[in-house]
């Protein structure tokens, strides 16, 4: 459209040249810029703090569950990155002007003024200076409130506070016992009622005493025979594994003289006493030599690595090994205390030796019912030997496992002598090398106990068969005959209760 222009007034000088108004405007914008920058930094810091707290929570939980030594310093990276990003994205003058226009409701005054003062020199508009003055006057008259912070940030701040509190709480997980993981680590506790279909009443049969196999020579875990109760076999396996774990811990502690008392307590089955000894050792850990600490650490680490039946005990062993390898006194003390506590718990829930022996015997019977061919090899040796490790007769086993001490001085040479079986036949319990093939062979069974402590059958239902010292050498079958008839005096039964299933298997 055509409009006849009115004569123009004298034009204002170009705003490209600095004027008082422009300088004043830049000062105001500088203050706004700092204000906006600090607010943005706060926003970034809050979000970085949320990320860092979340990362710390995650790392703490993972470290707690897996017992891995994770670098928790990594959780500080998000916060550092957020602060760096805030510095990098420091607002420009134009951004500060636009944000101030929006939050302070200045109707684009500052944004227009910034554009007019920063554009390339060109014929300035007539009212450019007037607009800059108007923007400057309005900005000065308007109280500067929050440019960026709003109600949403309040919620973010609250969330950040909650996450930080959660992160601090996650650091306390170290003292919280880990949850029981499902699977092989599940061990039956004493409070668990036995399954109704498992018959735990086993008839005891009299057997001459035979020395148990040392725990270090324990045979591999037997595989489940098709004819045996899988629940019972699993229980037997678990019980054997737990006993083995305790044995290994005892062996490890026995390697250092300072912890010998604890080892012996474990062998006796006195787990509370062993825990007390460990606590006492922890209190005096600063008096141990470096060599002793290293030896103990190595022994505990080896026990932990070999421990496959008690995951929690293995974790505590590993923790104690790490503490003694590099930790300070406080850490060592705490580690031994926790190991002692776990030892008590593991010992309390482990299957008693006699019960384990009965279960093994029952399992043996089930195997025998399912297999008609001669199982004359030593099938129950592993079970009996493991059962004896944790029993009151653990002195023999422990001594055998602790470095070859005399097993009991019976002198018959059969204690602690695993032997190698020459008999053939499959071993339903997975024993590839049957101990003895006793079919038709004479077996010299000691008629009296050795020097080690022996355990009489607790009940009157004892194996009545025993070798008559006055009789001449008899073969195995003849020796077994009184078992079947049950006409032997109980005082002649010299075979410990938990060993009887092992021996019984010899005569099958």
């Amino acid at each position: 459209m055509h409009v006849e222009r009115a004569p123009r007034l004298e034009r204002a000088p170009s705003l490209a040249a600095p004027t008082d108004d422009v300088r004043a405007l830049l000062r105001v914008l500088g203050r706004l810029r700092w204000r906006l920058g600090l607010e943005r930094t706060l926003v970034f810091a809050l979000r970085g703090l949320m990320l860092a707290a979340g990362t710390l929570i995650g790392l703490s939980v993972v470290a707690w569950l897996t017992r891995l030594d994770l670098p928790l310093e990594v959780s500080a990276l998000p916060l550092a990155a957020a602060l760096l990003l805030a510095v990098v994205r420091w607002p420009s003058t134009r951004q500060a002007a636009d944000q101030a226009d929006h939050r302070l409701r200045l109707a684009e005054r500052l944004g227009t003024a910034v554009e007019l003062t920063t554009t390339q020199p060109h014929p300035a508009g007539r009212f450019d200076r007037l607009q800059v003055r108007d923007a400057l006057a309005t900005a000065r008259a308007t109280p500067i409130g929050l440019l960026t912070l709003d109600t949403r940030l309040h919620r973010e701040a609250l969330l950040a506070a909650l996450l930080v509190a959660g992160a601090l709480g996650s650091r306390l997980l170290v003292d919280v016992p880990r949850p029981q993981l499902p699977g092989a680590e599940d061990t039956p506790s004493l409070s668990d009622a036995p399954p109704a279909d498992v018959d735990r009443s086993l008839p005891d049969e009299a057997l001459d005493g035979l020395s148990p196999l040392p725990s270090s020579d324990r045979l591999p875990a037997p595989s489940l025979p098709a004819t045996s109760d899988p629940n019972l076999a699993a229980q037997v396996q678990q019980g054997q594994a737990e006993r083995e774990a305790l044995d290994q811990l005892s062996n490890a502690l026995g390697q250092v003289s300072a912890s010998q008392a604890a080892a012996e307590a474990i062998q006796r089955g006195d787990y509370a006493g062993a825990s007390s000894e460990l606590n006492h050792l922890g209190d005096n850990a600063d008096q141990l030599s470096d060599a002793a600490k290293q030896q103990l650490a190595q022994a505990l680490q080896a026990a932990a690595n070999a421990n496959s039946g008690d995951r929690q005990l293995a974790d505590r062993e590993r923790q104690a090994a790490q503490a003694f390898s590099r930790g300070a006194y406080a850490e060592q003390r705490q580690a031994l205390q926790q190991l002692g506590q776990q030892l008590e718990r593991s010992g309390a829930r482990s299957v008693p030796a006699d019960q384990l022996a009965r279960e093994v015997g029952q399992l043996q019977q089930q195997q025998g019912q399912g297999q008609n061919q001669g199982q004359g090899n030593a099938q129950g040796q592993s079970g009996a030997s493991q059962g004896s490790a944790g029993s009151a007769q653990s002195g023999q086993a422990a001594s055998a496992a602790a470095g070859g001490k005399d097993a009991g001085g019976s002198g018959n040479g059969q204690q602690g002598a695993p032997g190698v079986g020459t008999g053939a036949g499959g071993d339903p319990l997975g024993d590839p090398n049957p101990r003895l093939s006793t079919a038709g062979q004479r077996v010299d069974v000691p008629t009296k106990l050795g020097q080690g402590p022996g355990v009489r059958p607790p009940t009157g239902n004892e194996d009545q068969a025993a070798a008559n010292p006055s009789a001449g050498p008899r073969n195995v079958a003849e020796n077994a005959l009184p078992q079947q008839t049950g006409q032997v005096a109980p005082e002649q039964n010299l075979v410990p209760g938990e060993q009887r299933p092992v021996v019984r298997g010899y005569f099958r």
């Binding site: 459209m1 409009v3 009115a6 007034l9 636009d98 684009e108």
Partner: protein, 335 residues
């Protein structure tokens, strides 16, 4: 609202004069016209921006009186053209008449009623397209061509056209090209009860008050030039451009409502209109810069006659006002 105290000087005085003149004009018109504040504001803005206005409303709402009042307040030459189906272009523009002078006969141009500062084109949609097109050149070029001779129209030149929405019989809808020439399209609504009472009181009593002059043609030209000097930031201009682009369904910047309801979007004149009207709206608001709010306020009258809705919108009864309202809500201030 006045500018900040510190912003004084010749420039500030000039802007303040522009604002006061516009407010004075509105006050004078409001002394005669009851209510219709939005229409008065729209007409004032269009007049100071150098644009033309299309008024749509029922008969008897004071459209003619409005134009007459403005002409009186600005001391402008006013003419009224009543459009009828038999109106010829020459009846509007003028014609060459053979006159017998002392030296002999010669053709002399007799100016038509369009040669005025303020032209009221009443019921423009009743004239034939041929007659309607006679206004095109006048509104755009502010000149008319009769025969081979061009004749400039007086300045300022302002066309205020009216059309009746209910009389569809015997009417000729304005072509899009002519609609695009109008700066604003304003709806004149029916007055409220209180307003109607005031109308009755003013018009049935003693002689109604006449408007007093607040400016003249020269001042109007000055103010029109001043209005063009109001600065507008690039991001605000970009907002206006994106609004216009959003009306085109074939463009990637189109808003969803445009894709559904619009057949043809607004022309670049719409963006010019929005910016010019935004400048004047900013001055009336006491600012020397155009804000996003100014753009939003003037978008509706600037776009409603420039959108061509599709058949689906017509069938669903979707109006251009609704489309523009959705569009303004959908387009963000900053890209």
């Amino acid at each position: 609202m006045q500018l900040a105290v510190e912003a004084r000087g010749a420039d500030a005085v000039a802007v303040e004069r522009l604002r006061r003149t516009a407010e004075a004009l509105e006050r004078e018109v409001a002394r005669v016209i009851v209510g219709q504040q939005m229409v008065i504001r729209g007409v004032t803005i269009a007049l100071l921006a150098g644009g033309h206005v299309l008024l749509e409303g029922l008969p008897g709402l004071g459209k003619t009186l409005l134009v007459r009042t403005i002409a009186g307040a600005l001391q402008l030459h006013y003419s009224r053209i009543q459009f009828t189906p038999d109106l010829m272009p020459a009846d509007i523009l003028g014609t060459n008449v053979l006159l017998d002078s002392g030296q002999g006969r010669a053709f002399q141009f007799q100016a038509g009623p369009i040669f005025a500062n303020l032209v009221l084109a009443d019921e423009i949609n009743r004239a034939t397209p041929k007659t309607q097109s006679a206004l095109l050149e006048a509104m755009q070029e502010q000149a008319v061509t009769v025969g081979t001779v061009g004749h400039a129209l007086p300045t300022p030149f302002f066309v205020l056209a009216t059309q009746n929405p209910i009389e569809m019989e015997g009417t000729y809808p304005l072509p899009e090209a002519e609609l695009d020439r109008f700066f604003f399209k304003l709806h004149v609504g029916f007055p409220s009860r209180v307003e109607l009472a005031q109308i009755v009181d003013r018009t049935t009593g003693p002689r109604p008050a006449a408007p007093t002059a607040v400016a003249d043609g020269e001042r109007v030209r000055e103010l029109q030039a001043l209005a063009r000097e109001i600065p507008v930031a690039s991001h605000v201009a970009d907002y206006a451009v994106r609004l216009v682009l959003a009306t085109h369904p074939e463009l990637p910047e189109a808003a969803e409502t445009a894709r559904r309801n619009v057949r043809f979007g607004a022309s670049p004149r719409a963006a010019q209109t929005i910016i010019m009207a935004g400048k004047l709206h900013a001055v009336l608001a006491g600012r020397v810069n155009v804000a996003f709010e100014d753009v939003r306020r003037v978008a509706l009258p600037a776009l409603r006659h420039r959108l061509i809705l599709n058949y689906e919108a017509d069938a669903k009864g979707v109006t251009a006002d609704r489309v523009i309202a959705e569009l303004v809500a959908a387009v963000p201030e900053r890209a």
